[in-house]
């Protein structure tokens, strides 16, 4: 177990006109589960592969604990990888797959058997130890891949989208299993995903990446409550935060005739073109007289537990798509116009040009 430190680590693929990862600075604490999240092509996998030794580091350094691993081959880094497609060895039994690292380390067969059995017990794989991977379900394969990594007792787990080959229900189930297991084992873990729900639910902290650069490294709830810029605001949360163009004038934010309530910090800082962000669950439906933002309802989605109202708010010729989460049933219908408002503490104000957060 150890910390992981990236010091301006750069990866520039030969022949590319710019680096995939220009230079990442990131400290991961001992025992922490750090999630790297971002859209495809943002450099999150490349960053993980640099840590694992599968990609060259062109500049900068990477440390595991106090040890500089920048130029070590993968086999000497004391890490274990779990891949999206698991890459279980189809010609080996589950037990041999899980014991592979111990065999490489020349651990005695008895000791190997003991440690494999131990891990299989934790993962509920005991009865499958003699099977070949192809005789397992997707979820079981995923656990074997986890087991193969656990048995090594590495200093760091590197997980590259380990849930993306599972179906939706299995994914929900497995992500809680992995989070629990990681917390129990206390092994420092770097987890890569493109799915913000996984990032939110699993990470002790989450690093949001875009175009090779870190945008924000924070706890899931801080990312949700205080996104530092427009990208993070739009990326975290589903359905996505309503982001609406507005104009700032003497500490007032206007969307057409609707005056957005903003916090004092934002009121002081904002100027010219701003973007106002409100999460779907932060809207309140008010009556027309209360002067809310008018929204013409185009679709109402009833999920049973919640409802989402999709509509457009026609302001200054540019229609804004608005999503409102409603608790009750059958309260809003297609074609109606509803009026919504919110409270200052739920409004995120951003500078439209720089994307930077202006609210507190």
């Amino acid at each position: 177990m150890a910390t992981v430190t990236f010091k301006k680590a750069q990866r520039w693929f030969p022949g590319a006109d710019k680096p995939t990862v220009p230079g990442i600075d990131l400290e991961i604490r001992d025992g922490e589960l750090m999630v790297l999240v971002g859209p495809s092509g943002c450099g999150k996998s490349t960053t993980l592969r640099m840590l694992a030794g599968l990609e060259e580091v062109n500049e900068g350094k990477i440390f595991i604990g106090d040890k500089d691993v920048t130029d070590l081959p993968p086999k000497d880094r004391d890490i274990a990888m779990v891949f999206q497609n698991y890459a279980l060895y189809p010609h080996m039994s589950v037990a041999d797959n899980m014991g592979f690292a111990l065999k490489m380390a020349k651990v005695s067969p008895e000791e190997r058997k003991r440690r494999v059995a131990e891990a299989a017990e934790i993962l509920g794989l005991t009865e499958f130890l003699d099977r070949k991977p192809k005789a397992l379900s997707g979820g079981q394969r995923q656990r074997v891949a986890m087991g193969r990594a656990i048995v090594r007792s590495p200093q760091v787990f590197c997980m590259d989208e380990p849930l993306s080959n599972l179906d939706a229900k299995m994914r929900v189930h497995t992500r809680t299993d992995i989070a629990k297991l990681q917390a129990d084992l206390g092994v420092t873990t770097v987890y890569v995903t493109h799915d913000q729900v996984e990032a939110m639910t699993m990470g002790d902290r989450v690093a949001v990446m875009k175009d090779g650069d870190l945008q924000q490294v924070d706890t899931p709830l801080n990312l949700y409550d205080k996104p530092v810029n427009l990208f993070v605001a739009g990326f975290i949360g589903s359905p996505q935060m309503n982001l609406i163009k507005a104009t700032a004038n003497n500490g007032q934010a206007q969307i057409g005739h609707y005056q957005v309530p903003v916090d004092p910090t934002a009121a002081k800082r904002m100027e010219g073109n701003i973007t106002v962000g409100v999460r779907p669950e932060s809207w309140r439906i008010v009556s027309a007289e209360d002067g809310g933002l008018p929204v013409k309802v185009t679709v109402v989605e009833e999920l049973g537990s919640d409802g989402f109202v999709y509509g457009t708010s026609d302001v200054e010729g540019t229609p804004n798509h608005i999503i409102v989460r409603v608790a009750g049933r059958d309260t809003v219908h297609k074609g109606e116009t509803i009026y919504v408002t919110t409270d200052p503490q739920n409004v995120h104000v951003f500078d439209t040009d720089t994307g930077a957060r202006l609210s507190e």
Binding site: P74, K75, A80, F83, Y89, A101, M104, R152
Partner: protein, 252 residues
Amino acid sequence: TLGRPPAVLVVPATIAAALLVLPLVALVLDTPWSTFLEQLGSEPVLEALRLTAVASGATVVACIVLGTPLAWLLARVDFRGRAILRAAVAVPLVLPPVVAGVALVTALGRNGLVGPLLRDGGITLPYTTGAVVIAHTFVSMPFYVLSVEGAMRSSGERFDVVAASLGATRWTTFRRVTLPLAMPGILAGSVLAWARSLGEFGATITFAGNYPGTTQTMPSLIYTTLQGDPALARTLSMILLLASVVILAALR
């Protein structure tokens, strides 16, 4: 359930099928089955059979021993000139066999590029069984290498990467992971190489000649026999046709 196939497609398809199937059917029908085994007992036939078995067996061994590492190098190692080497390896696939024979003569013949060197070392190749094996290996190895390289590429580097991250050296990874995973490609490649070797005619007759006992393999014997004893030629052809059918079955 998309509807009946139109005649404008069915008619030419039938002609094509007839053209491909008819000669095979004719060969089966016209083979003198009553004297089949008897004909196989003659000395030149036995010699040709023996030589074909030895040459094709040696070819497959050469392919496995030398071709597997080459396939691995092409599939897994990023070196300068890899694209060119991969293209060069594929050339014998489309090279006319006679031209392959001429190229082998030019390189290894008595007056060839390295022929004199070999002769100084006491090795004479042309018109020996060794020449037959080299000709067969030259034309068969590309099939083997491409099949194994394809298998190694399709199983993908991720298996190797996992092994490396679990502490395995490159050689251990090759033995314990790459090789077992490429086994279907190795088997298919061996069968393909064996098939190519079994039917080799052009390169062999050009480079090694057609001498009973040393370089006359089955195809050469069939070619030689057809004018004088067509019935025997058909019997011998039938054996190779059966081998082809077995090969095709093995490839599925």
